[in-house]
Subunit: 374 residues, 2 copies
């Protein structure tokens, strides 16, 4: 894959009302509250969120009165097509340099920068490029805006979720004893890609038999055997948004112990999903799931967080686990994914994506949660 | 995919001679030169390089006398199996916090940190965790060590390259008019994964017809048509190392113009590959390729760098382009990838991975560079 050396000259972009423009308005409200006259956005996922741009290089300078998106000549046509709410400038230097220089042109006011992602060295360069600006470290400003998904984003997540479910559901009938975990992962990822996904949002987990007790098991050359659980955890990137789902199936007729573990996890995920509504906290949902697992005597085998926020990244805000007492806002997209892991035996995890609504949760994942015996 | 909350206690690791231990010795020589008593390594690819660890969370503290690798309980067994040259400590906090605290225990000497990847906020935390240490920003220390690949690394790159070539060569016979670019990408990535790869090292580029003139085109739903170039640029991750290759094929019998463009690029890549040897610079190789293209009248249509270093990442040091006058060292792994792009018509790029040796280059990519008419 080649490296580019941009060449062309700057040209002005165009404006328009759009999801991106509305997101910029929310950012400006936040900037006003924090008394920041302008802010440099250099984290790619945040730049994409605020502009609609889908390319992989660009920086944004947002002021009270305007917003300028800087990128290089590779993205000239694409930026003009995709970006709304910001002026597009094609620059020869790297986009962060251009944005910082422009920020430095101001009268020396407070200029926010993303201190969790700008490196120590990057900050030093910002100071050199914008010596008159008073650089103000900000943390998670855009990430917090991103918690509340708008209709456009929820639609994109819904499409990614549908694609992930389709890839899994079409693969399940192919599972046979003797196939390797890697082959199963390859079949799933093949379908993600073939149906238009940009790629998996993480390395697909296919964990069979005792390996299903390892929550982060990678697919290996282990062959599927009869009378074992197969845990499948997968996600796809589509239109810049990700899906994330887990199903656990049984190869053959499940014995009583397997059925009981499965039933406990299924009830736990359903109970937590029924508890979802704006105003409830991550801890509230975690408690709902744990209560079910405790009743079955499996609570100690649920060793990870109940879920996490999801959107442009597989793991983003809000946190959904014990100790998270902040109320979940309407529009948050979260996973609910309790699991029970018995060392040496196997494990079960079931995971959906749920949108937090007023008074309820909207489960996006269409795949059945009934125990599938293949 | 679940988020973990580590729980177990620290245990000591084990030492041993290994590629990792030799790399640590090179790092210590560099630290001595820079008068840094200890260094915090927090960039994952650098941590992996110096330890042999393949998991996705860990930090390293290297001192003149020892080296400690910190990770959480998810990676307990894996770290003990994989890490050599460093003691393994399993910690409850995040690994960077643990490493920084340990660095702060010293007598207040100079402690290097990776200032190109540690965030502004991360640096602030380092200062709080190790208040007595004199934090010294370093830039690219391990990245520069990584330029000279050792035998273990070259073997891993060779395997990744062979897998990429296999995935491409098995896919080419499937190409038919009517297939979409995305379907072609899906077939290639399916084979990468099925044969054991961790996944593509970047989103596979399949650019047909006029789209082959866009060096970074993503695969789309455009259907392959007869009498067009198809440019395929792909890479796979295997054992933590990546491949990167490009071939351009013609669907049908190539007319004279297409043959001439192809011949120019093929001669350019061959000429540059023959020029490879330790001591020559990136600019020397670039000149060798451009000289050929100039003879054909195509030089102005070669709009990107000749190549780049490759290893754990698709784009790493050394730089291989105009203006790069530093001699390439023995053991460097680079791509050679000239291209000619004619807007509205199409483009040709051919890309191999080459190891820089004394007196010559070792082309790893086994796939033929003859014009394939499918």
């Amino acid at each position: 894959m080649p490296i580019h050396s941009p060449r062309r000259d700057a040209e002005p972009g165009r404006n328009g009302q759009s999801p991106a423009a509305k997101r910029l308005a929310r950012l400006r409200a936040r900037m006003e509250k924090e008394k920041i006259g302008s802010i440099l956005i250099t984290t790619l996922s945040n730049v994409q969120y605020l502009t609609g741009f889908t390319g992989s290089a660009g920086s944004l300078l947002v002021t009270a009165g305007g917003s300028i998106f800087f990128t290089d000549s590779r993205y000239d046509i694409q930026a003009r097509e995709e970006v709304s709410g910001s002026h597009v400038e094609i620059v020869k230097s790297d986009s962060m340099t251009a944005a910082a220089k422009r920020a430095g042109r101001g009268r020396g006011g407070r200029v926010g920068f993303e201190s969790g992602t700008v490196s120590f060295q990057g900050h030093k360069r910002l100071r050199e490029l914008a010596p008159r600006a008073r650089l103000v470290p900000t943390v998670g400003v855009v990430e917090e805006l991103r918690v509340e998904k708008d209709a456009d984003e929820i639609e994109k997540i819904r499409k990614a979720v549908a694609l992930g479910s389709r890839a899994l559901e079409e693969t399940l009938p192919l599972l046979r004893p003797g196939m390797t975990e890697l082959e199963v992962a390859a079949e799933i990822e093949y379908r993600m890609r073939r149906y238009g996904g940009e790629g998996p949002s993480f390395e697909t987990i296919v964990a069979t038999g005792p390996r299903a007790a390892l929550p982060h098991a990678r697919a290996t050359t282990r062959r599927i055997r009869p009378n074992e659980f197969i845990l499948l955890d997968l996600g796809v990137i589509l239109g810049g948004y990700v899906s994330d789902m887990t199903r656990t199936v049984f190869l053959g007729k499940a014995p009583a112990r397997a059925v009981r573990i499965y039933r406990a996890v299924k009830e736990a995920v359903e109970e937590a999903e029924q508890a979802v509504q704006a105003g409830r906290s991550g801890e509230d949902l975690d408690k709902a799931a744990r209560k079910v697992l405790r009743r079955y005597g499996y609570e100690q085998y649920f060793t990870h967080s109940l879920g996490h926020g999801v959107g442009r990244e597989v793991h983003e805000l809000p946190r959904v686990s014990r100790g998270q007492k902040a109320p979940l806002p309407e529009g948050a997209a979260i996973t609910i994914e309790p699991g029970v892991y018995l060392e040496g035996y196997g494990g079960v995890r079931i995971e959906d994506i749920v949108i937090v609504r007023k008074g309820s949760g909207d489960v996006l994942t269409p795949t059945s949660k009934e125990l599938m015996e293949l």
